[in-house]
Symmetry: C2
Subunit: 309 residues, 2 copies
């Protein structure tokens, strides 16, 4: 039997699973913390792969979803924000030397996009725009049936685009990125700043409310909490309109914790979108969906990558 292995390297969790040639039901799976004192993350990946390795050694390829920017051609992780020491790490070659099967690497947000396209909300589409909105904003693009990676694997940084040069600083240090307006961090920061300015709210100024608490307050009618989501949704609409003009996708897929806020975020997004598209043709047939794979998106994208050879 042909087997394909998938690995998802999260900042905190490390997952591996084995799959048959078709379908998304794992044969074996395992998850452990990514970082433990006294054990290197690379060694832990190798151990995890061994744990799910089939007895018949029928593995055709290994797909790996890894954090941070990746040179997909060379199989090198440029850097991984949450894993100290991972700088220009040749993970593909390291794993191929151990396992002697083809290893394919992809950025985790790109892999989630690939997973949703192949096995989730994007099935049947050829032009897919996937956003994950959580503490940051990431995503991936399927264009004409292929994952967009760019010349050196650095494409599809969909949260790091300026939509207002006078806006707040982004986590990356550049001002006015989409992520600085519409991520969970941005929503929480906006509310904290308004509370500090004395804007009335049922939310306490201290400890600073989380995005989840702000969503709950908004559902309870708190005007500041609602304004925070209105603002995030408005800017998300500006950003999405730009992407419609750039990619003309047939479906938008939203994943990540903040996207579970639903209408709080997406009603103002849709309103902005409506006024910001060049022509109704961009939205008339456009599907909008929630991610279907949840936390498995990255792993299943790595599976799709493994099977893509």
């Amino acid at each position: 039997m042909e087997t394909y292995l998938a690995v998802d390297i999260g900042g905190t969790r490390l997952r591996a699973a084995s799959y048959p040639a078709d379908g998304i039901q794992p044969i074996e799976q395992s998850r452990i913390p990514t970082r433990v004192v006294g054990s290197s993350p690379v060694q832990r990946i190798i151990d995890q792969v061994k744990k799910v390795w089939p007895k018949d050694s029928s593995v055709r390829a290994i797909g790996v979803a890894a954090p941070g920017p990746i040179d997909t051609d060379k199989g090198i992780i440029y850097s991984a924000p949450n894993i100290p020491g991972w700088e220009n790490l040749p993970l593909r070659d390291l794993l191929e030397d151990v396992f002697h099967v083809p290893v394919r690497l992809g950025n985790d947000a790109n892999m989630a996009a690939l997973g949703e396209w192949k096995y989730g909300a994007g099935i049947g589409h050829n032009d897919v725009l996937y956003f994950t909105i959580s503490t940051g904003i990431g995503g991936g693009v399927i264009s004409a049936g292929r994952l967009l990676v760019g010349a050196w694997g650095l494409a599809a940084e969909v949260g790091h685009v300026t939509i207002d040069p006078n806006g707040p600083l982004c986590g990356c240090g550049i001002r006015g990125h989409l992520e600085a307006f519409s991520s969970g961090t941005a929503i929480a920061r906006y509310v904290a700043s308004e509370l500090a300015d004395g804007v009335p709210s049922i939310l306490p100024a201290s400890p600073a409310p989380t995005t989840l608490e702000i969503a709950a307050a908004a559902h309870n009618g708190d005007p500041l909490a609602k304004a925070a989501f209105d603002r995030a949704g408005y800017y998300l609409g500006l950003g999405v309109a730009n992407y419609l003009h750039i990619f003309n996708p047939s479906i938008l897929i939203f994943g990540g914790g903040v996207s579970r806020a639903g209408g709080l975020l997406f009603d103002p997004m849709r309103a902005a979108l409506k006024s910001q598209v060049l022509s109704p043709a961009y939205v008339d047939r456009l599907a909008v969906a929630q991610a279907a794979l949840g936390d498995d998106g990255g792993l299943l994208g790595a599976l799709a990558l493994a099977r893509s050879g």
Copy 2:
């Protein structure tokens, strides 16, 4: 001998040419005005194609660069800004019915991108970002060796992206698009507005200076004229940084009249770009070039499209 025909439908000029299987030296070519009283543009296209049709009837395909958004799958021109009556025009079928060879349609800015990639400044690259900066800003994207068209042919409207929602109105009616900051029209409008406000300049308030006159004044050291190009270049840098993060191209190609302003526009663009990229990896190996094909870009892109079947 195999022959390929290319047609470039401009708002004012209509060009057609025939080519052999390789190279960009035309066998025959012809150009006439697009619109003449008493003659339909479609009939004029048919006449032009007949004019360059080879005697041996060896035509393999016809490529057409047409203005406005196009459904490339169905070969329909949604609308053409400068040609009244062209709404949902099935130009591909109309031409195939007359000539009985495959006809392929592309948007003119996309075709210029394709032409530059195949035969001009982009040769050898797989990820190309092409901008034409003239009265407006258009362009095209080659991603992983394929022209980006999107689900319904509406992609790559690279000038119509919001980079400052508080910015000036764009020609399309939406506020703060890249085109509203960095096109020739935007530069001229900014100068006119500053002159009306009494900002000192060697430029006269009336008649309103053209972009060419503003460029000449900037070369002569006029502070307002220089400020106008600095502003256009700064916003162009913001826009280009976004596109680097989105597409990670290996080359930027600039065409169009305003791009001939050279350093006036591109020095401030480069300065902005430097401070706006997520990582030096986006620009370290990035090539930046002037378009090589000039006015022939659209026609040669149509040729590339004809040969692509």
